[in-house]
């Protein structure tokens, strides 16, 4: 019966493609590090699912948005839980994606022929940031209102196009219903659609080129080539196959499942213990509200604090250049060497950038905690 069903589907759908995917060889060593990618995917999936449920009740209208959030949290059965799941998974997503990018960068896994995989990964990162930014306005409370105002005003400092970007995003002079509908459309339709396409492409390329093994795995092959007199610089390590591999199923499937299950449990636990709730009680007067960005934007917030007054455009341009530079890293660092120790310049610069981002975030966190 089972075989008959399999054959029936195989004839019509072509199930052998899944079988081939499950048998795809993967590097054995460092396999747990590869789960960072699937952890990111798990959290994005969780975002899609919980976000879809929230859409059932959320009203993207200036008059009703905040009360609909309150309704979700207080009236809808398990609404508070789903909303908290949505927010907690968004928080963890930024950690997972940051670690994933760091792993890929340090291990040189973006090098030939995986440049496109990296580029699309960088686009995914941009999109996730966009979703995070637009999502911050949807609760439509006082803080969200001020986040929108600060965000719009900051963008207006952008040279030449600043005013245009601001009016295109806000829809009117100040944050209002038009702003909310635009942010909502971006948050639930435009950006998730782009994200879905990018993730499909990213997964396709990973399947095509396979995962890059840890540097240690290629050591014996490198030594053998060196013994034959092949210079180290000309070895395209990223195109070799690791000596020790295993099929995707069952080993990696098991590891990915463990990580996915643990993450869902963690998000669920956080949502139960520390649920997000709309502001209750009397709201402080508008002059007393200090806009507080989400923690994953703290480093950006602190960075812009270094460019007060007329210097803001410089900070904005530098920040934009940094984000624009990300997809092109494989074309700047083209040397075939992948070992982080043997390519100290990129390793040191990469470590600096991460350290700097963490330092900025910590300083902003301290400021936000105290005021």
């Amino acid at each position: 019966m089972r075989q008959t069903l399999w054959d029936w589907f195989d004839e019509r759908v072509g199930l052998d493609i899944f079988e081939r995917m499950l048998q795809k060889p993967l590097p054995k060593r460092g396999a747990w590090f590869y789960t960072l990618g699937s952890a990111t995917l798990t959290l994005i999936t969780l975002q899609f699912i919980t976000g879809a449920f929230l859409m059932f009740y959320y009203v993207p209208d200036g008059e009703f948005a905040e009360s609909s959030i309150r309704y979700i949290t207080e009236q809808v059965r398990y609404g508070w839980y789903l909303r908290s799941m949505h927010r907690w998974s968004a928080n963890l997503l930024f950690i997972a994606i940051g670690l994933h990018i760091f792993r890929v960068f340090v291990s040189g896994s973006f090098k030939r022929p995986r440049e496109m995989t990296w580029m699309i990964g960088a686009f995914i990162f941009w999109t996730v940031i966009g979703i995070g930014l637009t999502g911050g306005l949807l609760p439509w409370d006082a803080n969200a209102h001020w986040i929108g105002t600060v965000f719009g005003n900051t963008l207006s400092y952008f040279p030449i196009f600043g005013k245009f970007i601001r009016s295109a995003l806000l829809g009117e002079e100040s944050v209002g219903t038009l702003t909310l509908t635009r942010f909502y459309a971006l948050h639930v339709w435009v950006l998730p659609l782009i994200l879905g396409i990018l993730i499909t492409l990213h997964l396709y390329l990973i399947r095509k080129h396979g995962l890059f093994g840890s540097v240690i795995e290629y050591r014996d092959q490198i030594r053998a080539l060196e013994a034959k007199g092949v210079p180290r610089d000309s070895m395209a390590i990223t195109q070799m196959t690791p000596d020790e591999t295993e099929p995707f199923y069952p080993g990696q499937v098991f590891r990915d499942s463990v990580v996915a299950f643990s993450l869902i449990t963690l998000v669920s636990l956080f949502s139960t213990l520390f649920p997000f709730s709309p502001h209750r009680g009397q709201e402080p007067p508008p002059t007393r509200i200090i806009p507080r960005p989400e923690w994953f934007f703290w480093s950006v917030d602190e960075w812009l604090m270094y460019f007060p007054g007329r210097l803001i455009p410089i900070g904005l341009v530098l920040l934009t250049l940094f984000f624009l530079f990300l997809p092109f890293i494989p074309f700047v660092e083209r040397h075939p060497e992948v070992s982080p120790i043997r390519r100290p310049v990129p390793t040191i610069i990469g470590a600096w950038v991460y350290l700097f981002i963490i330092i900025l975030a910590m300083m902003a966190g301290s400021r936000i905690f105290n005021y």
Binding site: E302, S366, R367
Partner: protein
């Protein structure tokens, strides 16, 4: 009475400066020693092994000194400033106890790390090194909690608010980067002295390499310092405005100008060293000389703008040269920001060039004495900078011992035999305005010195 007060302040200043100078060196050393040993294991290069071993030896020698100075400091605090010390210890009991325990843990790792070299399994040895480094960083964080509370205190309860006061994170980050920078330049200066004292080509090659490696750490973290420092000062301004005014606009603003001068020297001399060491790599490049000239010209101009004082009236001996009270060119915004931005941006670019060149350097030891002299200058100016910064932070809160909560006058009632004026301490004053005056000493209303 005044004599005893000056003597008490001097005793604390000397012991605290010496203690913190050694302690910060040890924190940076523990971290860099663990990194050097790890790199040595990963690459199999002997020179990293030798470097980490030398670092361990230096730290073992220093550890006893820092412990001694710490005990002397506590002794002086207990004898000379009993009111202040009792109050502080009562508020910061757990951080101080935790800090002492972490120092003990650090020492308990440091000695086995050095004495078990080559005897213990490598993984265990590395674990001990990293554990010691972790203890050192935690100890530093705890003492920073106490130090930052003195300048920007928050209500004693809840404990989290007391610990995470407005400048705690900034001070910890500033010291973390500063300790690594100080250790980097310190070890570079020591290796430069060793280089100049030996004629053995192998030894010279090793010491020149140590200097070049240590500058990667020292200069790299130096570039972070003004950025974190800016955030630190901003936090001080929001939390303890009187202290900020005193330091940046008041009678002690000359300390900030001096600090800027020291930073200028460190960045320019560091760049000079990096260019000197990278010449072999870029000497055939037609644009190298032009770029170097342009860099130094821009850096010189930026350094000049950066060091230009705003409050001229508080610069010692300035009255002999000018009658101006303030200098508009010395304003923080935008002039000092632009100057700092130029210095840091050029520093980052040149740091990148230096890293690219150094990774290709295979022949060491023939660089001559000039780069080594530059390293010694860097080491010395780092020490001046550390002492100056410590002096600035501790003087910023004058006349308070704990800003807005406890004054020197309050201490004198108990510790130094009673106040001659019979003035109540800040804590005893009922009016909050009196406890934390809106225009404390150091604000712009002060007369010309």
């Amino acid at each position: 009475m005044e004599g005893s007060l000056i003597g008490s302040r001097l005793a604390i200043a000397l012991t605290a400066s010496l203690h913190s100078l050694f302690a910060t060196f040890i924190v940076g050393g523990m971290l860099l020693g663990a990194v050097a040993e790890s790199v040595g294991v990963l690459t199999g290069r002997q020179r990293y092994e030798r470097l980490s071993h030398s670092i361990a030896r230096t730290l073992v020698l220093m550890s006893a000194t820092v412990a001694f100075m710490g005990v002397v400091l506590v002794l002086f605090l207990t004898i000379l400033w009993p009111n202040f010390w009792t109050t502080l210890f009562r508020i910061m009991f757990w951080p101080l106890i935790f800090e002492a325990s972490m120092f003990l843990g650090e020492a308990a790792c440091l000695y086995p790390w050095y004495y078990s070299w080559g005897r213990w399994p490598r993984k265990v040895h590395l674990f001990i090194a990293w554990l010691g480094a972790t203890f050192a960083v935690i100890a530093m964080t705890m003492i920073d909690t106490v130090g930052s509370f003195l300048l920007t205190p928050r209500p004693v309860l809840p404990a989290l608010q007391r610990m995470l006061n407005p400048t705690m994170v900034q001070l910890t980050l500033h010291r973390f980067a500063g300790n690594l920078s100080w250790f980097g330049f310190g070890i570079a200066a020591l290796s430069a002295i060793r280089y100049l004292r030996t004629n053995d080509p192998k030894e010279r090659a090793y010491h020149e390499w140590v200097g070049a490696f240590a500058v990667i750490v020292g200069f790299g973290f130096l570039l972070l310092m003004p950025i974190i420092g800016f955030s630190y000062l901003k936090a001080v301004r929001f939390a303890s405005e009187g202290a900020f005014s005193r330091l940046m606009l008041g009678e002690k603003s000359w300390i900030f100008v001096l600090q800027v001068f020291l930073i200028d020297v460190l960045i320019i001399v560091g760049t000079w060293y990096m260019f000197r060491m990278a010449t072999f790599y870029y000497k055939d490049n037609l644009y190298f000389k032009r770029y170097r000239l342009l860099t130094f010209t821009l850096m010189g101009l930026a350094a000049l703008l950066f060091v230009t004082p705003y409050q001229v009236r508080y610069i010692p001996f300035a009255e002999y040269f000018t009658s101006a009270q303030v200098n508009p060119l010395g304003k923080m915004q935008p002039y000092k920001y632009i100057a700092m931005g130029v210095l840091i941006a050029l520093g980052i670019i040149n740091y990148g060039f230096y890293l690219s060149a150094i990774r290709s350097k295979t022949e060491w030891g023939g660089g001559g004495p000039l780069p080594q002299v530059l390293l010694i200058v860097l080491g010395l100016f780092t020490i001046f900078s550390m002492i100056n910064m410590g002096y600035a932070r501790e003087n910023g809160r004058y006349p308070y011992l704990i800003y807005g909560k406890m004054t020197i006058a309050g201490e004198r009632e108990v510790g130094l035999g009673g106040s001659p004026t019979g003035e109540r301490s800040a804590d005893q004053k009922e009016n909050p305005e009196e406890r934390n005056p809106p225009a404390p000493r150091g604000s712009e209303s002060l007369p010309r010195r």
